[in-house]
């Protein structure tokens, strides 16, 4: 996965993501594709969650999955999550849960609760930073004011090295793939460098939904695991999602 939040020269925030999923779960030799990734694409739906006939939040989901991986509370905040690998992983959380120690939260139920109930960027950030989890994760959160965006790197119990937007210091976007931002990504799976290269080449002056879609369409940021691309603009309250394909030659991940 690649998630990013960028601030344009007018202080508008653009939040976008490639959802890459299905690694090592069956390779289709004939079609050069991942079996599970291809099975997930037809399940994609955009959902407008309403109460009293008013939109509470909007999301892109795989039908049948009640948790949230990508969503927007229009005019309030935007949220995506990327997978984080750690030895202190979900299997330990599940074991604890089965043994009756249930003080942690399932990752996707937390993101769903935040999108449904949080009333501000600050509240969402606190919940995503402090709630104990069953599995580690990256939460990429955008607010509705200039400078409001961060990468929350979560272990099951802690929030590690939060990274914030710092436009005055030249950090006009934050970008997360699947590696801790203070470490080098695995050289076999470095999608961070090409994505940042294209963001820097675009420059803040030219950042928009269109140019962010260009970045997320550049191999290997776009790869055989990419099921969909989502583009969100909190100030407009919009969410657009597109089912993707990566024509060969293309990285498997």
């Amino acid at each position: 996965c690649t998630s990013l939040v960028a601030e344009d020269p007018h202080g508008n925030l653009i939040h976008a993501r490639n959802m890459d999923f299905g690694l090592f779960m069956g390779w289709d030799m004939k079609n050069h594709s991942w079996v599970i990734t291809e099975k997930l694409k037809p399940l994609l739906v955009n959902v407008d969650f309403r109460r009293n006939n008013n939109t509470v939040f909007k999301s892109t989901n795989f039908a049948g999955y009640v948790g949230m991986l990508t969503g927007i509370q229009p005019h309030v905040f935007t949220l995506t999550m990327n997978e984080r690998f750690s030895l202190d992983g979900g299997y330990i959380g599940i074991l604890e849960w089965i043994l009756g120690k249930r003080d942690g939260m399932w990752m996707s139920f937390l993101t769903r609760s935040v999108l449904e109930n949080a009333t501000s960027y600050a509240e969402a950030k606190k919940l995503l930073s402090d709630t104990k989890l069953l599995a580690p994760a990256y939460f990429i959160l955008g607010g509705n004011r200039s400078g409001e965006a961060c990468i929350i790197t979560r272990s099951r119990t802690h929030n590690l090295n939060p990274l914030e937007l710092a436009v005055k210091q030249g950090r006009w976007y934050v970008l997360e793939t699947n590696y801790d931002h203070w470490k080098e990504p695995l050289f076999l799976d470095n999608r961070r460098t090409p994505a940042m290269k294209c963001m820097n080449q675009t420059t803040q002056a030219n950042i928009s939904i269109k140019t962010v879609y260009d970045v997320l369409s550049t191999k290997p940021v776009l790869n055989k695991l990419t099921a969909y691309t989502t583009l969100m603009e909190v100030s407009k309250g919009t969410l657009e999602s597109y089912i993707r394909d990566c024509p060969s030659p293309c990285m498997p991940w």
């Binding site: 069956g26 079996v35 599970i36 099975k39 694409k41 037809p42 399940l43 739906v45 955009n46 959902v47 407008d48 969650f49 309403r50 109460r51 509470v56 795989f62 039908a63 049948g64 999955y65 009640v66 948790g67 690998f85 979900g90 299997y91 599940i94 849960w97 939260m105 399932w106 990752m107 996707s108 139920f109 449904e116 069953l134 599995a135 580690p136 994760a137 470095n190 090409p194 290269k197 294209c198 080449q201 269109k210 140019t211 879609y213 260009d214 369409s217 550049t218 191999k219 776009l222 969909y228 691309t229 999602s241 597109y242 089912i243 993707r244 990566c246 024509p247 030659p249 293309c250 990285m251």
Partner: protein, 123 residues
Amino acid sequence: SLQYVPPYTEDCRTGMYPPSGPTFKGAVPWYTINLELPPNKRWTQIIADKKDAMISLAQAVRDLADAFVPSGRLEELVDKALPLMIDTLPYPFNEEIKGIATASGVPLGETLLLNIFYEVFTV
């Protein structure tokens, strides 16, 4: 231009929006969910439209499980043990998952597995 060796890095693409061409496989359809409905009824319309795709995904995951554990024990574990967990999950998610299993016809254990896949997959 593209380097013809992994990771097949391209020059930064431009002019890709609005989406079209070989990297675009279609837009994602919109649905509305009424949060005032009982949880087990909220996803009914979506699942009615996506039932076949859900069943196809469930079969692919079953095939994967059988590839790892040919005896079928893993699949049996999912179908027999996981449903015992459903009411330990927080409300309303447990009820929504039950409603999805009923509407899709996918066994409850497999529908639950789909919903906790993130934690399971870290294994």
